[in-house]
Amino acid sequence: MDWLPIFLSLKLAAVTTTLLLAIGLPLAYWLSKGGGIFKVTLEALITVPLVLPPSVLGFYLLLAFSPQHGLGGWLQRVFHLSFVFSFQGLVLASVIYSLPFMIGPIKSALQQLPANLAQASYTLGKTERQTFIHVLLPNIKASVFTAMIMTFAHTLGEFGVVLMIGGNIPGITKVASIAVYDSVEGMDYRTANHYSLLLFGITFIMVATMFIINRRNAKSPLE
C-alpha cells in the first residue's frame, strides 16, 4: 500500500484545521453577536456546504479558478498561483467546505455564554479583544476542541470537492479518499480496504477522543 495518500490527507487536514481556526475564531465571534440581513446571508452561505452536494461546490471552484477564466487567469498571471489540480487548491476547497464545522460549535458556544461575563470584563476596563482572549475563549475550550476535531475529521473524509478541483495526481492531490475510489476502479479491493480501514480507524479514534475529553460537557458536534 502506498502511504503517500494517507500522509497527504493528514497534511491537508492539518493545514485546513489550522487555517480555519485562525479564520473561524474571529468570524464565529462576530457572527455570535447577531446582526442584520447581511450577517444572516453570510451565515447561510457559510452553512450551505453542509447540505450542498460536494461536486457542486467543486464544480464552481473549478470554474472560478480555472486559468482559462477571469479570476483563475488573473491569479496565474499576477501571483503565479494555480488553485486547480494543486495542493493549495485542495486547501482552499477544504477551507470553504469545512467552514461550517469550525464556525458552528464555536458560535453556538459563544452565544450560550451569559452576556454579563463580557459585561463584567468591560466594567473592569478590559477591551473586547482582552475579554475574548481571557474570558470568553477559555470558557468555550471544549467547543473549540470539538470544532477542531470535526474540521480535521471532515477534511479527511472529503471526496467530491477534492476530486473536482484536485483530480487524482499522485503526491499532489491524490488523498486517501481518492485512493480508495482509485483502487476500487482498478478492482484492487484489498488496497481499497486498507485505505478505508485506516480512514475509519483514524476518524473513529479522533471522534471518540473528543467525546472522552469533553464528556463532562459533551455536545453534539454540530451544536
Binding site: L117, Q119, A120, T123, L124, G125, K126, T127, N139
Partner: protein, 206 residues
C-alpha cells in the same frame, strides 16, 4: 455631584414599559434603589455603567459628562471605570478567586487586602464552582472594588449572605467607601438591610 436623568422604553414580553429615572446625589453618598421586579432597576444600573444605551437624557459625574444624548456623548464602559456587582455575580468560571482580582488589577498588596476583607484568603486558589453562593457573592463584590471605582453599582449584593457575614462585609465596605470617597448605588428588595448604610433612596417603578 452625580446628576442622572435617563429615559428608555423597556420591552417586557409583548408590553412596553417606560423607564424614566432622575437622580441627583452627592459624591460619596450611598443610595438604595428599590421598586417592583421588572421595573428596570438592573437596566438603570447597566445604563449608568454604559452597558445599555438610553434613548435620551444625560449622565454627569462631577464635572464629567458620561452620556448626553443631545450632543452625542456616550462613554464606553471601559472609560467610565465603574465597579459593578451583578445580581447573578457574573464570575469567570475559568479563573480562581485570586485570578479574578488579578485580572482586574496588578496591585498584589491590594488584592491581599481584599481577600482579607472578603474572608476569601483561604479560598484564593479555588474556582467559582467550588464556592458557596455567599462566597461567590463576596467575590463579585471584591472584584468590583478591586479597580477602586469612584462609582460602585451593586445589584442585590447581599442577598446570599447570612446576617453575620452581611454585617461584617457592610462594616468593611463602609470603611473602604469613606476612605476612597466612593459613591454607591445599591439595588435591593430589602430596604431594611440598608437602613444604616444608605443616605438616600430612589424608587423605580411608576
Amino acid at each position: 455631584m452625580i446628576d442622572i436623568s435617563i429615559q428608555k422604553t423597556l420591552k417586557a414580553g409583548h408590553h412596553q414599559l417606560p423607564l424614566d429615572v432622575k437622580l441627583q446625589v452627592e459624591t460619596g453618598s450611598v443610595t438604595a434603589i428599590h421598586g417592583p421586579s421588572g421595573a428596570g432597576k438592573t437596566t438603570f444600573l447597566k445604563i449608568v455603567a454604559g452597558l445599555v444605551t438610553p434613548a435620551s437624557g444625560h449622565i454627569k459625574i462631577n464635572n464629567d459628562v458620561w452620556f448626553d444624548a443631545s450632543v452625542g456623548i456616550n462613554l464606553t464602559p471601559q472609560e467610565r471605570h465603574v465597579g459593578f456587582v451583578f445580581q447573578n455575580y457574573a464570575l469567570f468560571p475559568n479563573m480562581t478567586v485570586r485570578q479574578h482580582l488579578g485580572y482586574a488589577c496588578n496591585d498584589t498588596a491590594w488584592i491581599d487586602d481584599l481577600l482579607q476583607i472578603g474572608g476569601l484568603l483561604h479560598l484564593q486558589n479555588s474556582k467559582p464552582e467550588y464556592l458557596s453562593g455567599g462566597q461567590q457573592q463576596r467575590l463579585a463584590i471584591l472584584r468590583a472594588m478591586s479597580i477602586k471605582p469612584k462609582l460602585l453599582l451593586m445589584d442585590e449584593p447581599f442577598s446570599a449572605l447570612d446576617a453575620q457575614t452581611k454585617h461584617e462585609v457592610i462594616v468593611a465596605l463602609k470603611r473602604f467607601w469613606r476612605q476612597h470617597g466612593t459613591t454607591v448605588l445599591i439595588v435591593t428588595h430589602y430596604k431594611e438591610e440598608l437602613k444604616d448604610l444608605a443616605s438616600s433612596e430612589l424608587w423605580i417603578g411608576g
